[in-house]
């Protein structure tokens, strides 16, 4: 016996250099997760003889003769461990990829350890929740609703909750090996150069190695250019990418793929490849990329065919507009603010890395399982690249371990498809954390030269931005992020004179892509910092200044076009409420500090408050489609088939709640199947915050339709008037006689029909949602330490379908935004390589870093969203960084214009201001 696992002896001997994590997964313990594989995230935590360890660091041979407990062994029989019950009762998870590690860590805590969760949970990273719900779970705080049907407005738990806490939820690579016989593994050789032409690749030595089955190079690549970005219209993004290219344009770009019987053999094959490069001049900086004579990153492309603005000058897209007369507006102003703001590269750091596993099914169709937010668009992209009809490809997403926009790209599926189609065997590719950090996508860095002016009475007279967007080596999302960034960030203010000059440019660096907020977090950092400066210049309260200038319901929302977007409406308006909610909460907070005698922290500390607002269209432009099918099953429950992937966004819960509400049933009677191109016709995908307002709306329409059908069949069966029948949970009440839904199913079956309804929604017209954030901070002038004394966010989400879940989205957005505001930065060295290549070099917020936030909802009812709901997933991120910078400004008098604001930067900034 090698070791015991969950009480069962396991005889297979581990390999000498194998870590316990991969051994356990090979032995079928798929609840053991890989977040980082370097000991930083804790997702792989297991017990060895009762002691919690990170199994990715634990030599598997060292576990010989010991007893290992994984999350699968935490429950005894059908009885959950108390910590599992607590994680359910507090819904201490979103995507759930970190949950097994959280449970295995917290299950070992004694009371003393529970009293210091920042210390004792700092080795467990969660990217979704912001940790409040996890803290509640560990401490046994329940946030369960008392008995409810789970209708709209109830805090229904996620349907997958029990699977998540028992480690049985199936993420991308948690598959049964029997379904992938003869599975091969792929590893990628990546470019060491920022810009080079591949002159030769010698694969002979690699192909001679044991286990190596194939090597793919640019000579094997389909010739169809495409974009890794996924949008409803593929023409939204430039066609500038090949599956494998003969030119590499950033350090880390794919050069070749080795496919072998095992990961270790594929790695050996990659090391055996001999590649010669002709190194080309590279440009790493977007300003330099615009200079005459700069190396053209995609100079070989045809502008029209690839839809690149000006490939010779590295411009992917540009925008130059002026409403009114900015120069005149500035001349009218009593206070003018001109400043350059810049935002850095940040990485999504979803706990589950990119991964795909593909095979040919029994009919020879390509069957791709991947970690994606867009299964239907990825199918379409695969068909386009490989010249296949849509019915020859199926794409399915299992439970996805976090997205944040990073999985609105096709980064693994294309190369896996190439290998599957060539070898006609199952092939898997799993990114390492380092590949994720160095060679996937990041947020777009923005440099924003801003000019704004205001009159003494508080009227905003001019707002002009000159925006330079660094899209990196490929133009995925380059146009969209630039246009969207310059949209709502300017439209939220009434101002007669607005000007935008924006360019999105190529550089020889890691590509930027879709990231939560899609350009708005960058632009709101500049705009909301500027509003704060104008208010300070006028001696006016910043919230008062905003009240005077922000759009009010009915005002035209204008940014770059003299006419408002024709399909964007005030389906509801709660910005005014959000501003008041935050203002009031900050006032109460200050009062609490005073009453508690905590207002004075000592001579080194400066205290201040700061606020910022944000607006977002509830749906992306130019169409966002969803198709939903709802049917009554023989047992009287419902099956809902939807396109949207579940990655912690909670839309599965929302679908069940919307359907249950329309059917007057219970949410747990609606089982949701999802994110599989063989289930429904089409779904644009879970991005742009559309899970509730587009896909949810389709489900609601299907449910409303089905409800009518149920009543008709029941009324017929009972011989009652339809008007006298009404749906109740599990039955139809026909004028006082209860007809169980299972009976309704039978009646329909006898008539030769199934009770099934479909809903479709096209994502238009659209509404607007709002978020306002406020901070009270203390800054230590002597060390740069920043303490967040109070964090408040108010959100206008319309009718909140699931308050607990929506609060979780907001808390998670705040935490992720704090990481981007305070620490996170993907750094690129002089050679173009990303240097922040492991999580110890790329610090994302831990339990110890995230303050508890007060979350408030505006009371609005949206006329466009399903049952009054609006989107609320990306947008909580957007106002956080400027609110923080404004609070620091208020405390210290110093304006910080670059992110992130780490303690060293704050200290040195204050020191420079004193000098």
């Amino acid at each position: 016996m090698a070791m015991g696992i969950n009480g069962t002896p396991h005889a297979n001997e581990p390999r000498p250099g194998q870590c316990l994590r991969t051994y356990l997964r090979e032995e079928g313990m798929l609840g053991v997760k890989k977040g980082c594989d370097g000991g930083d995230c804790g997702a792989c935590t297991v017990h060895v003889d009762g002691v919690p360890v990170h199994s990715c660091l634990y030599p598997a041979v060292r576990a010989a003769g010991k007893n290992v407990t994984t999350v699968e062994g935490l429950a005894s029989g059908g009885t959950l461990h108390p910590m599992q019950e607590q994680f359910l009762a507090a819904q201490g998870f979103q995507c759930g990829f970190c949950t097994a590690g959280m449970l295995m860590t917290a299950a070992t805590f004694d009371d003393a350890q529970k009293e210091n969760l920042p210390r004792n949970l700092k080795g467990n990273l969660c990217r979704c929740t912001g940790y409040r719900a996890i803290g509640d779970a560990v401490l046994g705080v329940s946030t369960e609703d008392a008995d409810s049907c789970g209708h709209v407005g109830a805090s229904q738990g996620a349907p997958a909750g029990r699977a998540v806490v028992t480690g049985t939820a199936r993420y991308t690579l948690d598959v049964d090996p029997a379904d992938y016989p003869g599975l091969l593994h792929m590893k990628l050789l990546r470019s060491p150069h920022a810009h080079a032409r591949i002159t030769s690749i010698d694969t002979a030595a690699a192909l001679r190695l044991p286990g190596v089955r194939a090597v793919f190079t640019h000579q094997d690549s389909p010739k169809q250019l495409f974009s890794t970005a996924q949008h409803e219209l593929f023409t939204d993004d430039p066609d500038d990418t090949l599956v494998l290219d003969s030119v590499v344009r950033h350090v880390g770009q794919r050069v070749a793929a080795v496919v072998a019987d095992s990961v270790q053999e594929a790695e050996a094959g990659v090391r055996a490849l001999v590649v010669s490069y002709e190194v080309l001049p590279a440009v790493l900086d977007p300003e330099n990329a615009l200079l005459p004579g700069a190396p053209a990153v995609h100079g070989d492309k045809d502008a029209a065919a690839s839809r690149i603005g000006d490939p010779a000058h590295n411009i992917v897209a540009e925008l130059h507009t002026e409403l009114g007369d900015v120069a005149a507006g500035l001349a009218l102003a009593d206070v003018v603010h001109q400043e350059t703001y810049s935002t850095q590269r940040v990485q999504h750091t979803a706990l589950e890395t990119h991964a795909a596993i593909g095979r040919l099914d029994g009919e020879g169709r390509l069957d791709m399982r991947s970690s994606t937010q867009t299964p239907f668009l990825t199918r379409r992209a695969l068909c386009r690249v490989f010249g296949l009809p849509e019915d020859a490809v199926r794409v399915v997403a299992g439970r996805v371990g976090g997205g944040f926009g990073g999985k609105q790209e096709m980064l693994t599926e294309d190369i896996v498809a190439l290998a599957v189609l060539a070898l006609r065997r199952p092939v898997q590719l799993e990114y390492t954390r380092t590949e994720q950090l160095t060679a996937s996508t990041t947020r777009h860095p923005f440099t924003i030269r801003l000019s704004a002016g205001a009159r003494r009475d508080g009227t905003l007279t001019a707002l002009a931005v000159d925006v330079l967007v660094n899209t990196g080596a490929y133009g995925n999302h380059a146009p969209g992020v630039m246009f969207h960034g310059c949209g709502e960030s300017l439209a939220v203010y009434q101002c007669a004179n607005k000007k935008v000059d924006a360019r999105s440019v190529y550089t020889n660096t890691v590509p930027a892509g879709a990231f939560r907020g899609y350009g708005l977090s960058q632009m709101f950092f500049a705009v909301e910092s500027a509003m704060d400066e104008l208010a300070a210049g006028l001696g006016m309260d910043p919230m008062e200044f905003r009240r005077r200038n922000m759009v009010r319901s009915g005002d035209p929302m204008l940014s770059t076009s003299p006419e408002p977007e024709e399909d964007v409406h005030y389906g509801s308006y709660g910005l005014d409420q959000c501003v008041d909610l935050v203002d009031d909460a900050l006032r109460r907070g200050a009062e609490r500090y005073r009453e508690a005698g905590l207002a004075e922290l000592g001579p080194d500390w400066a205290v201040g408050t700061g606020t910022a607002l944000s607006m977002i269209d509830t749906v992306p432009p130019r169409g966002h489609f969803a198709h939903s099918v709802l049917e009554l099953l023989a047992d009287g429950t419902f099956k809902s088939s939807v396109g949207t992937a579940e990655f912690g966004n909670g839309t599965t819960t929302v679908h069940a709640q919307l359907a249950a509400t329309a059917l007057n049933s219970r949410a747990e009677f609606v089982a949701v199947a999802q994110s599989d191109t063989s289930l429904t016709e089409h779904d644009t995908g879970a991005f742009g915050s559309t899970g509730t307002v587009v896909a949810g709306k389709a489900t609601l329409l299907a449910a409303q339709d089905l409800a009518g059908e149920l009543l008709k069949v029941a009324a017929d069966g009972a011989g009652a008037d339809v008007a006298a029948c009404r749906l109740v949970p599990g039955a139809v009440d026909c004028a006082g006689t209860l007809l169980p839904l299972a009976r309704v199913y039978e009646l329909a079956a006898l008539a030769g029909r199934t009770l099934r309804a479909e809903g479709r929604w096209g994502g238009t017209p659209r509404s607007v949602a709002f978020n306002v954030h406020g901070f009270r901070v203390a800054v230590n002038r002597g060390t740069g330490e920043l303490r967040i004394l109070q964090s408040v966010q108010a959100a206008d989400a319309g009718v909140v379908v699931n308050p607990r879940q929506c609060r979780g989205q907001i808390e998670g957005g705040i935490a992720q935004a704090l990481g981007a505001a305070l620490y996170e930065e993907v750094l690129v060295g002089d050679d173009g390589a990303v240097t922040t290549d492991i999580l110890r070099q790329y610090h994302i917020p831990t339990f110890a870093d995230v303050p508890r936030s007060e979350v408030y909802f505006a009371a609005t009812h949206d006329s466009l969203g399903p049952l009054g709901a609006k989107s609320m997933s990306e947008s909580p991120f957007n106002p956080v960084a400027p609110a923080l910078a404004n609070a620091i400004r208020n405390a210290t008098g110093v304006r910080f214009t670059r992110l992130p604001l780490a303690r060293d930067v704050i200290y040195l900034g204050l020191k420079a201001a004193r000098a």
Binding site: R15, P16, G17, Q18, C19, T22, D37, G38, G39, G42, T45, V51, P52, V53, H54, C56, L57, Y58, P59, V61, R62, T105, P118, R119, N120, L121, K122, G123, N124, V263, Q264, E267, A268, R271, T432, R781, G782, T783, G784, E785, L822, Y823, L827, T835, T836, I838, R840, Q841, Y842, H843, P845, T846, A848, D849, A902, R903, D904, V905, Y907, L908
Partner: protein, 291 residues
């Protein structure tokens, strides 16, 4: 992560068994964290059965394989001399790990020192307590080297290939010091950007050990007030600043994602002065005006 080039794990702590392509394996938390594509064998020193911690009148002997969890438990051990007030550093330094308590169950004192990161808290602890390392070499030889001199740069030690860190001796005289501890990080409970330990020894001398801020440990020693000669004696604020100026050239301040060198420098002066004030009972001089 898997180390797929490893062909064997060999249970040995004999440097004579070492050959190129080998790495000493203790807790494994560094090796398995960074991975390797060149190593061929892991020599497992935990099989040697070295007692983790030995205490006698002369001080404390920490085996290189002593885990952080075992070290953390040390201050609770009955019978430790009450005069060893410097033991309060043990938990302060353990808690300076960015790694959580779970990692402590595997990672070792020797492994942290041999990794030689500027922020290695076991380097901070052992250097500040004048710890002396015993290093085993091939052929049965051994040598003694102060921990403060064993770490010579960012991820660089004075260990020759194949040499093995066997243990660290913390002398009783150092343990009987009064100590002051200061640490700053860019994030709460994050990796140390600056870590200073002051130690007022029984002989009245002051030892200030700077780690994390600098690429390698830097020690400033000031003899007790009875000492004679130029530069001798305990420093005032200005004297301390001059001593830091002399000991740490600008390029010795570490520069990485965990703190800008100018910040590390200014914080070193600030924390050093706080420590001086605490240990010498002098009123703290406001360094923000002087530095």
């Amino acid at each position: 992560m898997d180390m797929n080039t490893i062909e064997a794990v060999v249970p040995t702590a004999d440097p004579s068994a070492w050959r190129p392509g080998d790495a000493w394996l203790a807790g494994g938390t560094v090796l398995f964290s960074y991975g390797s594509t060149t190593l061929r064998r892991l020599l497992d020193v935990t099989t040697a059965g070295w007692p983790a911690i030995q205490v006698d009148d002369g001080g404390i002997e920490l085996a290189a394989t002593c885990t952080i969890a075992e070290l953390y438990a040390l201050p609770d051990r009955p019978g430790l001399p009450p005069a060893w007030t410097a033991l309060e550093l043990v938990r302060l330094c353990c808690d300076s790990f960015v790694a959580s308590f779970k990692i402590w169950n595997a990672s070792t004192v020797g492994g942290n020192i041999a990794t030689a990161l500027p922020a290695g808290p076991m380097t901070s602890l052992c250097a500040s307590l004048d710890g002396v390392a015993t290093v085993l070499g091939p052929g049965g030889g051994s040598r003694q080297v102060p921990v403060a001199g064993l770490v010579v740069g960012d991820a660089r030690t004075s260990l020759a290939p194949g040499e093995l860190l066997r243990s660290i001796h913390l002398p009783a005289a150092a343990l009987a010091s009064r100590v002051a501890f200061r640490r700053l990080s860019l994030s709460n409970l994050g990796r140390s950007g600056v870590l200073l330990i002051g130690r007022l020894a029984p002989d009245g001398g002051l030892v200030l050990t700077v780690t994390a801020a600098t690429k390698r440990p830097v020690q400033l020693r000031f003899a007790g007030s009875g000492a004679a000669g130029p530069g001798a004696g305990l420093p005032d604020a200005a004297g301390l600043r001059r001593a830091l100026d002399a000991a740490i050239p600008a390029e010795l301040y570490h520069d990485d994602i965990h703190g800008l060198p100018q910040w590390r420098r200014d914080m070193t002066y600030r924390l050093a002065e706080e420590i001086r004030a605490e240990l010498l009972g002098a009123p703290a001089h406001d360094v923000s005006k002087g530095a």
